[in-house]
């Protein structure tokens, strides 16, 4: 069922309550989920879906997903974490994910930003 305006508004308020110093707090999220369970608001499934979506977007802003072809050392991950934390002015954690389609190099995704440094990406740019 699609969320109506009121549900979206409530989800937004719950989302705001889940943040501490601009970052998602697990304790606050647990509290929000407890409140939803206790009070059973209108359209709980739609509400939780919207809430989940917002939290996922927010968490993605603090997480660097590093796709790579070839080995990536722990030191490289730390280096990227540091660079991204400095750029976005928040703590960014990194996780590695192998992707052979990149041919060589890296692709880092933080929120809706992509940092393309792979051979496949550069070839795609050349083909345009």
């Amino acid at each position: 069922m699609a969320a109506d305006k009121q549900t979206k508004l409530l989800a937004k308020q719950l989302f705001k309550l889940s943040l501490v110093n601009g970052a998602v707090s697990p304790e606050q999220v647990a509290g929000v989920l407890g409140w939803v369970e206790q009070h059973s608001p209108r359209r709980p499934v739609a509400l939780l879906k919207v809430y989940h979506h917002r939290i996922a977007i927010e968490l993605a802003k603090s997480h660097a997903e590093i796709e790579h072809a070839g080995p990536v050392t722990e030191a490289t991950l730390k280096l990227i974490e540091g660079a991204m934390s400095q750029r976005y002015k928040r703590v960014v954690t990194a996780s590695a994910k192998p992707n052979a389609k990149l041919l060589a190099g890296l692709r880092v995704r933080v929120g809706s930003d992509i940092y393309e440094s792979s051979v496949a990406g550069q070839l795609a740019t050349l083909s345009v």
Partner: protein, 510 residues
């Protein structure tokens, strides 16, 4: 072999190792040429957005959670979950003289099968209109070649003159005649070698029209050898609403290039009613709040920001606009007509009744006005046609009154007779614009009562005969009228001789 290796090495060297940042999003929903995209956190309003397969979109709605994009191209290959990225660029189209004689779509891509366009520059489709300081008041004429308009509702370079009327009343014909007339003037002016001559280039924007109509327009322009001075922007009824919405702005960008490079251009928006409908469709799909007649609240701004881009610039060129509005059952008080009437510098209203009576162009003198054009009118037209509008208005009033009785005094009868002759004289075949010097000569003949002795039903024939006589035999006289742009005693004497000569020939023929 080594060459091949070198080439590959060079290509590899070009590949920068620096990471390239892209701001991306994911298509959440896609329907009716509009995509809702999640992500694109850095997108700007009106920014070009790149979809898979080289398809381009424009970000029109920046909401808290998602971005609404209109897609300019084939949407059939796009699906939910596709990745979209920002380009950091506002939508631009190729501009310049290379586009003259070509038919392009709303993105400036050729659709006439004449090969690629070698344009050196590009201009943004959306641009802020020139400010107050850089503008100059309208003072140079733009001749339409239509006697009724040039003599009574004159248009100046940089003016916005609305052409409004019901369907099938000759709105497009007036625009095409004007474009053909510009081409004729350009040919004569460029051939004369006059260094001060400023050609007028035309841009015809077809919005939501049938493809067959656009083809007919192109053929008419080709037949009149006017296409070489014209660019046609086609967003036909088969194109998606996004392209129809963009087409006039693209046309304005094309015209602005001429204006900003010290040249004069004419742009025809045919028509803005369909443009408003296309914008309404996009706005409703984007779930923008709707107002009167379901149009969005910013439909006035849509047309005002478009038409404000037409101007005459100080020290540069001009862009004259002829927007077209189609009314329903002659209702000029509907939403879009009143909006555009208030934005433009006057309107030419075409009446269905006049059209059906055979008065073509069916210009309603009472409802038509040119707010700034009179200052651009040349002296000769003022001398011969200054009183025509008043005389014609008086005739219409008396003609309506005279229907109820036959006992009329001599003065009223004379006004009616004269009015009937003026009406006949202004009848003009389509695609046949008349040069300003011929117009002046014919109107001079009218003022000097040369047509008074001719029966009303023969006035059209007599006027055509006079035009032919003057163009074929009195070229020197016409050149003198054109160059001096005023009636001197010598020119009047020559005109008298010419008209006497013609009158004898015409009477003999009749």
């Amino acid at each position: 072999m080594s060459n091949v290796i070198e080439q590959i090495e060079q290509q590899i060297a070009k590949l920068s190792t620096k990471a390239v940042r892209k701001n991306t999003g994911i298509i959440r929903t896609i329907a009716d040429g509009v995509a809702k995209i999640e992500g694109l956190s850095d997108v700007m309003y009106n920014e070009m957005v790149s979809f898979p397969g080289g398809v381009i979109g424009i970000a029109l709605n920046l909401e808290e959670d998602e971005v609404g994009c209109v897609i300019l191209g084939d949407v059939s290959q796009l699906k939910q979950g596709d990745e979209v990225s920002t380009t950091g660029k506002l939508l631009s189209i190729p501009v310049g003289k290379a586009l003259l004689g070509r038919v392009v779509d709303a993105l400036g891509r050729p659709v006439d099968g004449k090969g690629p366009i070698d344009a050196k520059e590009s201009y943004p489709v959306e641009k802020i209109a020139p400010g107050i300081i850089v503008r100059k008041s309208v003072s140079q004429p733009l001749f339409t070649g239509i006697m009724a308009i040039d003599s009574m509702i004159p248009i100046g370079r940089g003016q916005r003159e609305l052409i409004i009327g019901d369907r099938g009343t000759g709105k497009t014909t007036i625009c095409i005649d004007t474009i053909i007339n510009q081409a004729r003037i350009n040919k004569v002016g460029l051939a004369s070698g006059d260094k001060n001559f400023r050609p007028v280039y035309s841009i015809y924007v077809a919005i939501g029209q049938k493809q067959s109509n656009v083809v007919r327009t192109i053929s008419a322009l080709e037949a009149a050898d006017a296409l070489q001075y014209t660019i046609i922007v086609a967003a036909t009824a088969g194109d998606n609403p996004a392209n129809q919405y963009l087409a006039p702005f693209s046309g304005a960008a094309l015209g602005e290039w001429f204006m900003e490079n010290g040249q004069d251009a004419l742009i025809v928006y045919d028509d803005l009613s369909k443009h408003a409908v296309a914008y309404r469709q996009i706005s409703l799909i984007l779930k923008r709040p709707s107002g009167r007649e379901a149009y969005p609240g910013d439909v006035f701004y849509l047309h005002s920001r478009l038409l404000e881009r037409s101007a005459r610039l100080d020290g540069k060129g001009s862009l004259t606009a002829l927007p077209v509005i189609e009314t329903q059952a002659g209702d000029v008080s509907a939403y879009i007509p009143t909006n555009v009437i208030s934005i433009t510098d006057g309107q030419i209203f075409l009446e269905t009744d006049l059209f059906n009576q055979g008065i073509r162009p069916a210009v309603s003198v009472g409802l038509s006005v040119s707010r700034v054009g009179s200052s651009a009118q040349i002296k000769v037209t003022k001398q011969v046609g200054g009183k025509l509008k008043g005389e014609l208005a008086q005739f219409r009033e008396l003609a309506a009154f005279a229907q109820f009785g036959s006992d009329l005094d001599a003065k009223t009868k004379a006004t009616l007779e004269r009015g009937a002759r003026i009406v006949e004289l202004f009848k003009q075949a389509q695609l046949n614009p008349v040069s300003i010097e011929v117009q002046a000569a014919v109107l001079w003949a009218l003022q000097k009562t040369y047509f008074d002795s001719i029966e009303v039903k023969h006035v059209v024939g007599a006027a055509n005969s006079l035009k032919e006589f003057l163009t074929s035999r009195k070229d020197t006289l016409l050149t003198a009228i054109r160059t001096k742009a005023a009636l001197s005693p010598e020119i009047e004497a020559d005109l008298k001789t010419a008209c006497d000569e013609w009158k004898n020939t015409f009477v003999t023929k009749a």
